[in-house]
């Protein structure tokens, strides 16, 4: 070969050697110099941290009966692996999950800014459906299936407002933010307690700490190997003061009553009701129900329909609705007049059916003749309390209202939404730009005008009459245990305040209330089947406007040694004796007749 050609071969050879050296240098740069960097990236590529869900705490009643628990369920998410979403997968899932394809695409669009994050398509998927999907997983792209238990509320609508429900945090972002600020970590799509019930308020206890499973995945995010695992810590269990038997009776009795009134001919009112049952010696809530209610098990499906209901099933009327309480207020007027020394139990007023006083004419629903405070309460004589009210004066009435927790927050913290109501008073009237008129004192004396209280406050107030004037904080959660059975929290009854009232006065009031269920008393008929000696007061309140009266009722028992206080409201239920009293009677009859009732 000639020299020139050999030289060219040499040059070619040098070129080849040089290129190979440069390539090797580049590889060394990646593999030796930047090894750590790429190993980390490779690791991040393949190792995914999957949360291991901590089971949420369960909820039991005072007799350890299970109220709220978890059932096995799954949540299915879809992830864009870089090639967009696979339309066959979407079509398949739409069919299996009973969703519209468009619905799925809409969700994907909504979460488009969180690309490469799973988009949650459906939760509460049953084991059967999941098994069907799992069988076809080989042809599905970018799906991820995670176990997420289905929350089960054993008693459905009964006491729904006590529990609330779990939901994605869209409607009220504040909930999640609040807990996040307190250091709880939430995954996207994780459900949080909602609707102001125990699920929301006790979220930090009920919610466990999620564990973590490190999983080796392939490029489709499908798990290949399971690596380290950090076990989850289950949520804590709540043991309530609730008595399920009582709760069930309250639920069914209230429903029957409300439905019956609703179905009466030409009734255009929206009838609803609320019941609160307290232990007057502790403030423990033994039963509480609103009707209509909602079913927390199916609330996510029913929500649109429920929101259409004019009776507003989501409102926890029992603690947040306020009503003029009519004659159930009369004990306060009696207490005020007695305590102020304006009357004694010997004082009688003559009821002629009408009364001319303070430049106005007032009437009674009957002619009671000479009436003492006992008959005044028992037969709910308006004339007696007009006179007693005029003697005591509005300031004393307002004062003793507050002494008995009316116009004061009951102090319920286990669930949210309690109201303190409104006391009829000079100040309140002035706030509304009017002077108090003396004639209005008569209306205030029988629970009308500005008086506005919740059923919880009624129950609270009748409890104080029963227990000698002690305002206990109402509570629902009695004990909290962790998953190992260790006590996390034990609640002692808490006295918020004691009313400044003499026992003589209370005895007189109690006697009147006892006679209410006795012969001639307004609740005598309703309580014909209750054998225990109890004390009660009916009320029929006139709402402002033309709508029909609210039926109200308060009671406690046993008379001598009370351990049950009941308040019932039937909105637009007309007379309390016929609408609210029978519900309270059902509850008391059950409580005092059932063998486990103490």
């Amino acid at each position: 070969m000639d020299k020139k050609t050999l030289a060219r071969f040499r040059f070619l050879f040098i070129l080849v050697a040089l290129s190979l050296v440069l390539l090797t240098t580049r590889v060394a740069y990646l593999q030796i110099a930047n090894y750590d960097h790429y190993v980390t990236r490779s690791e991040r590529n393949r190792v995914t941290k999957l949360p291991v869900h901590a089971p949420r705490g369960e909820i039991y009643d005072r007799n350890d009966q299970l109220l709220v628990t978890n059932q096995p369920g799954f949540v299915l998410s879809l992830m864009d692996m870089g090639g967009g979403y696979d339309s066959d997968t979407i079509a398949f899932l739409a069919e299996k999950l009973e969703l519209e394809e468009e619905e799925i695409r809409e969700k994907i669009r909504r979460y488009r800014f969180t690309r490469y994050m799973p988009v949650q398509l459906k939760e509460d998927i049953s084991e059967e459906t999941m098994a069907e999907i799992y069988e076809s997983r080989w042809k599905l792209q970018g799906i991820s299936i995670e176990p997420q238990p289905i929350r089960e509320y054993k008693f459905g609508v009964s006491g729904a407002h006590l529990f609330g429900y779990l939901g994605l945090d869209e409607p009220r972002e504040s909930i999640n933010e609040e807990w996040t600020e307190q250091g709880y970590e939430y995954r996207t799509g994780e459900r949080v307690g909602q609707a102001r019930g125990l699920e929301e308020v006790w979220e930090p206890y009920l919610r466990g700490e999620d564990g973590e499973q490190l999983v080796e995945t392939n490029y489709l995010g499908q798990p290949q190997n399971y690596l380290d695992r950090e076990e989850p810590v289950p949520g804590k269990d709540l043991y309530l003061t609730l008595d399920t038997g009582l709760q069930e009776v309250a639920t069914s009795s209230l429903k029957e009553m409300v439905d019956e009134i609703q179905e009466e001919e030409d009734n255009e009112e929206h009838i609803k009701g609320a019941v609160v049952v307290l232990d007057p010696n502790t403030g423990a809530i033994m039963a509480m129900h609103n009707y209509p209610s909602y079913d927390p098990n199916t609330v996510s499906e029913d929500i649109d329909e429920l929101k259409q209901d004019p009776r507003q099933p989501f409102n926890n009327t029992a603690i947040s609705g306020t009503y003029p309480i009519g004659s159930t207020f009369k004990m306060i007027t009696g207490i005020a007049a007695l305590e102020e020394g304006e009357i004694t139990d010997q004082t009688s007023f003559n009821c002629q059916g009408v009364l001319d006083a303070a430049n106005t004419t007032k009437s009674c629903h009957s002619v009671h003749g000479s009436t003492s405070i006992y008959r005044g309460i028992a037969e709910s004589c308006n004339i007696f309390f007009y006179q007693a009210g005029l003697r005591a004066g509005i300031d004393a009435i307002a004062h003793y209202s507050r002494e008995f927790g009316l116009g004061v927050y009951p102090g319920l913290e286990d669930i949210r939404g309690e109201t303190r109501g409104t006391v009829a008073s000079r100040e309140e009237m002035e706030k509304r730009g009017r002077q108090w008129h003396k004639a209005e004192t008569m209306d205030a004396a029988i629970g009308q005008t500005l008086h506005d209280y919740s059923p919880m406050q009624m129950a609270q107030y009748v409890s104080m009459i029963a227990n000698g004037g002690v305002h206990y904080r109402p509570y629902l959660v009695d004990r909290v245990y962790d998953y190992q059975g260790e006590t996390v929290k034990e609640v002692e009854p808490e006295i918020l305040r004691e009313a400044d009232v003499s026992s003589e006065t209370l005895d007189i009031i109690r006697e009147g209330m006892k006679q209410t269920v006795g012969p001639g008393g307004t609740a005598n008929y309703a309580f014909r089947n209750v054998e225990e000696e109890v004390a009660a007061k009916t009320g029929t309140a006139e709402p402002s406007g033309d709508s029909s009266s609210h039926g109200l009722f308060v009671a406690y028992g046993p008379y001598e040694d009370p351990d049950l206080a009941v308040a019932v409201l039937v909105e637009h239920g007309s007379a309390g004796a016929t609408s609210a009293a029978p519900v309270a009677a059902d509850i008391m009859e059950y409580y005092f007749d059932s063998p486990e009732g103490d």
Partner: protein, 368 residues
């Protein structure tokens, strides 16, 4: 047809190195595909082509390589015919690209573009050995441009950008070896560069995207830059000794695209580490060194040009392929010679080695 002296001149090193490379390839192909339904599907097929390749070498060395000087134009015509056919009756791979590359013969798929490479080497070697002292005018080179242009154009139409560039490289290599004037060589390169903007408009969308992400792979890490990033991560995480065969998480987890073909080097880098890479580079170095050495020893220019053409053909693919997997060359879809899965490429490479071995065996004038 083969005498003792020819056997003595037979370059066993070159044969051994090319077989070693192919076996090395089989191992990595196995690692890239063993998790499939039939773990040996690709290995078996590639192994079969390796045996065909050895058979091909045997057939080629039976004939004096001078015969190929006469046969070159027939081979060329056959390849052009097949390349035209492939545009009409060809089929693409099952995967994303719709490029038409194969002719289905029923029992085997033929990929004409792979055979076009050594055929161009032969054609140009013949052309330049004919015109050894007649290259004063640039126009004397025109036929070489036409030979190359026809093949390059037909393959570019499939479209297969990477492979068509190999033809340009072969042309440049042999032009240089044939001693064309440097200003002519410069002119060819200049015209080539001037064509780039025109080329840009002829490129398909995905090809353009590949070139863009080559300049900035983080631009679209889940889209077109994905392959490149995953490949670089795989190589980088291999470290000195690699994660072990069948142990590379990038490869085994399927993060690497086309890992048994174009991106086989990424698998090797991840699983065998820098040590495995150095072994591979040394094998390629020895391979090309032997080919060039044989070229320098060849008894005539035809033989020398064959060797330099084959060397350029192979080393160009090695550099472009490895360069693309480590992010210093754009992703153009060229296989790694002897290593990547692909029977036609392996077979054609062995045939090329056969030509070089042929030149080596007959490097001294045969005594009659």
């Amino acid at each position: 047809m083969i005498d003792k002296r020819q056997i003595r001149n037979f370059d066993f090193t070159l044969l051994l190195v090319s077989v070693l490379l192919a076996v090395y390839g089989l191992i990595v192909i196995y690692s890239s595909t063993h998790f499939l339904e039939d773990p040996f599907h690709y290995v078996r097929r590639q192994g079969m082509w390796l045996l065909f390749g050895l058979g091909g070498i045997f057939v080629i060395i039976l004939f004096h390589y001078v015969n190929f000087y006469y046969w070159a134009k027939y081979f060329y015509a056959l390849v052009v015919l097949m390349l035209i056919l492939v545009l009409f009756i060809g089929r693409g791979a099952q995967e994303a690209t719709e490029a038409l590359r194969w002719i289905d013969l029923g029992f085997v798929d033929i990929q004409p573009s792979e055979y076009a490479k050594p055929v161009l080497v032969l054609m140009l070697a013949k052309f330049f050995s004919d015109r050894e002292k007649q290259m004063e005018s640039f126009f004397d080179l025109v036929p070489a441009f036409i030979y190359t242009g026809i093949l390059l154009g037909l393959i570019f139409m499939q479209p297969d950008l990477g492979t068509s560039l190999v033809f340009a490289a072969i042309l440049l290599g042999i032009l240089y070896m044939a001693g064309v004037k440097l200003q002519h060589l410069g002119l060819v390169i200049g015209v080539g560069l001037a064509c780039i903007p025109v080329l840009w408009y002829l490129l398909e969308g995905y090809q353009r995207m590949r070139l863009i992400v080559f300049l900035n792979p983080e631009l679209d890490p889940m889209g077109a830059g994905y392959q490149l990033m995953q490949s670089i991560i795989a190589v980088g995480s291999g470290g000195q000794w690699g994660q072990g065969l069948l142990e590379g998480t990038q490869a085994q987890g399927g993060f690497l695209p086309e890992q048994h073909t174009d991106f086989i080097f990424s698998v090797l880098g991840e699983e065998m580490g820098f040590a495995g890479v150095v072994v591979l580079i040394i094998l390629f170095f020895v391979l090309v060194y032997r080919i060039l050495w044989i070229g320098a020893q060849a008894k005539d220019k035809f033989g020398a040009y064959i060797c330099s053409g084959v060397a350029v053909m192979l080393i160009f693919q090695v550099i472009v392929n490895i360069g693309m997997t480590v992010g210093v060359m754009p992703v153009t879809g060229l296989p790694l010679p002897f290593m990547s899965y692909g029977g036609n490429a392996l077979f054609a490479n062995f045939l090329s080695i056969g030509l070089v071995l042929n030149v080596s065996m007959r490097r001294h004038k045969i005594q009659f």
